[in-house]
């Protein structure tokens, strides 16, 4: 397992606006596996996502994070992206004036994944069809005036085109109705194949029924305190976090984390 591409996080500490949020996160996501990261509000889930992708406002104060053996921490966000990391944003920002098509071509070019124009447009059409995104979105501006669901689908569209080796989905399921959730989850499932690792950050176990995680981790007060299989997510759904956190808080129990 250790030879394949994977995300390895050890004792990661980070703060934002002077406040410590991550207090020593340990996490390994091997290639081809789906891992879920759960935890109550404010436990640091989104902070971990932004820190892993190199948001400048998130300051790493300790620990390490590597991807495929490359130390991530000195790298800027674009360098991490070019290594094959991808973040599905919880709240994707809008960029008025920059069309979806121009943006996607610029991103593909930056990652050395340029395609001939015709192939690009054909691929784009196919993926948009699968994700039920109207063709008119090609010439619209990135996320500008998009509904919440449209933004989420646009994120999955980018995931499908950029084909990263590790996708971090930051609450991609929040705010989606059942149909949209299924569309998005199926989109992820179709893309991932065997060579992509996925870290799903979520509040709700529902998306996990589609994505069938290999492992579930619970983050609490900036640390992974419990890890387990899919059944851990089901237990959380049934009983909430309290029984788990009550038992496992601070002990960082490792049930079957590979």
């Amino acid at each position: 397992m250790s030879d394949s591409a994977r995300l390895v996080v050890e004792g990661l500490r980070a703060r934002v606006e002077g406040k410590e949020i991550l207090n020593g996160v340990d996490l390994v996501v091997p290639t081809g596996e789906v891992h879920a990261l759960m935890g109550p509000n404010g436990s640091g889930k989104s902070t971990l996502a932004y820190t892993l992708l190199g948001h400048p406002n998130y300051e790493v104060t300790g620990g390490s994070a590597s991807f495929d053996g490359t130390d991530l921490l000195p790298l800027a966000a674009d360098e991490r992206a070019r290594l094959g990391m991808f973040l599905c944003f919880q709240y994707p920002t809008s960029i008025p004036g920059v069309s979806v098509v121009n943006f996607l071509r610029a991103a593909l070019k930056a990652q050395g994944k340029e395609m001939p124009a015709r192939e690009f447009l054909r691929t784009l059409s196919a993926v948009m069809g699968e994700l039920k995104i109207d063709e008119s979105f090609r010439s619209r501006y990135i996320n500008d005036g998009f509904s919440g669901g449209e933004k989420k689908r646009m994120e999955i569209l980018q995931l499908a085109l950029l084909r990263p080796r590790l996708a971090v989905l930051d609450e991609t399921d929040s705010g989606l109705d059942v149909d949209a959730l299924r569309t998005v989850a199926e989109g992820v499932d179709r893309v991932r194949g065997t060579d992509m690792g996925v870290l799903v950050i979520t509040h709700y176990p529902r998306i996990l029924e589609y994505l069938r995680p290999d492992a579930v981790h619970v983050l609490h007060r900036g640390r992974v305190v419990v890890s387990g299989g899919h059944d851990l997510a089901r237990r959380i759904e049934a009983d909430g976090y309290d029984p788990i956190l009550g038992a496992g808080a601070g002990t960082a129990a490792r049930e079957g984390n590979p």
Binding site: G54, N57, D78, F86, T93, I95
Partner: protein, 470 residues
Amino acid sequence: MTMAVTVEAHELTKDYKFGFHDIDVSVFRTEKGLSPEVVAAISAHKNEPEWMLKFRLKALSHFRKRVMPSWGADLSGIDFDNIYYYVKPTEEQSRSWDDVPDSIRQTFDRLGIPEAERKFLAGVSAQYDSEVVYHSIREDLDKLGVLFGDCDTGLRDHPEIFRKYFGTVIPANDNKFAALNSAVWSGGSFVYVPKGVRVDIPLQAYFRINSDNMGQFERTLIIAEEGSYVHYIEGCTAPTYSSDSLHSAVVEIIAHKDAHVRYTTIQNWSNNVYNLVTKRAVAYEGARVEWIDGNLGSKLTMKYPSIYLMGEHAHGEVLSAAFAGEGQHQDAGSKCIHVASNTTSNVVSRSISKGGGRTSYRGHIKVHEKATGVRSSVRCDALLLDEESQSDTYPYMDIDSPDVSIGHEATVSKIGDEQIFYLMSRGLSESDATALIVNGFFEPFVKELPMEYAVELNRLLAVQMEGSVG
């Protein structure tokens, strides 16, 4: 007569590809400085009628009486005594590029004008210093009665139309620089579109300053008769000299009932040009006037394209984009004066300041007392790319009628960190991300340009943006 084009590798020219100049080929120039004698010499050289000489001399006295504007920008660097007010480059105006002197033709070749003419223009006028050296118009438009030439030709060959409109939209005493232009004007464009004629592809005028210490004072008069349409494009460049040049144009547009006039400017003067321009249109019933105004070059620009909405249901549109880099001040804006009822106006301004540059939006919306059902919307957004630059907004709104819906919104900000991070998280470098966002910021302007100009503008922007990150 064959002269080599000399290219001077002046250090200021490094980002400005039009900074080269030809050696002086002029056949006539007035002495430096401004006097009634100089004005009379210009008029005599052009064999003008008496009324125009009187108009010019009166304008000169207005110019001398008027104080320099104290608002806005720093005009103290202008030395009116150190300027050539009239420089005639050739003896004849040509209708074929083959007849244009080699050095001048090569200049316009390098600027891509003949090529553009072949590809997508209905007519071209090329002014070099004080005179138009080349002009052409498509034969079919000529036959329909469309007139397109320089203003001197308009005065000479079509005095009945010319005199009826000349100086009626912008009187000689309108402001100090309009007075200056009225005294020493030369060249420019005279466009007349007869009733119902639609000029479906653009006419272009290109203005080139070549001489050092030169003042260019072209005069443009556009008359669109009832139900007609015309799109007029102007471009401009100048060599980069160590001393400053002055460009002070007057543009008058008359859009009659239901006429539609679009006037597009891509101003790319070198950074030693004072660009002080008065542009004004009147729009009668149902007419539509659009100023598409891009300001990238010059040391200082003061330009506020105006629309007087004189007839019911007239519509005015001003779409402007400004970029100010090191040592530049773009003081640009718009005026929409609602005189008649049910008139509408829409203003969108985008500006970017970088490297200590300064952009100012200065605008005026006025609704006259008797105008009802007026709607106007103004939207100004400014981006500041670094800590040295400056952005100002000076909008004036005077609403003298109750039956209106008027809105003005403005924002000033830097490029959003979240936008940069989003693009970087997709693999774009910080400078590519910045450039993409800047292009997007100007998109409302760029999308109104003919494709060839949009491409050129994005290229110019890319040059301006080089080295703006890190």
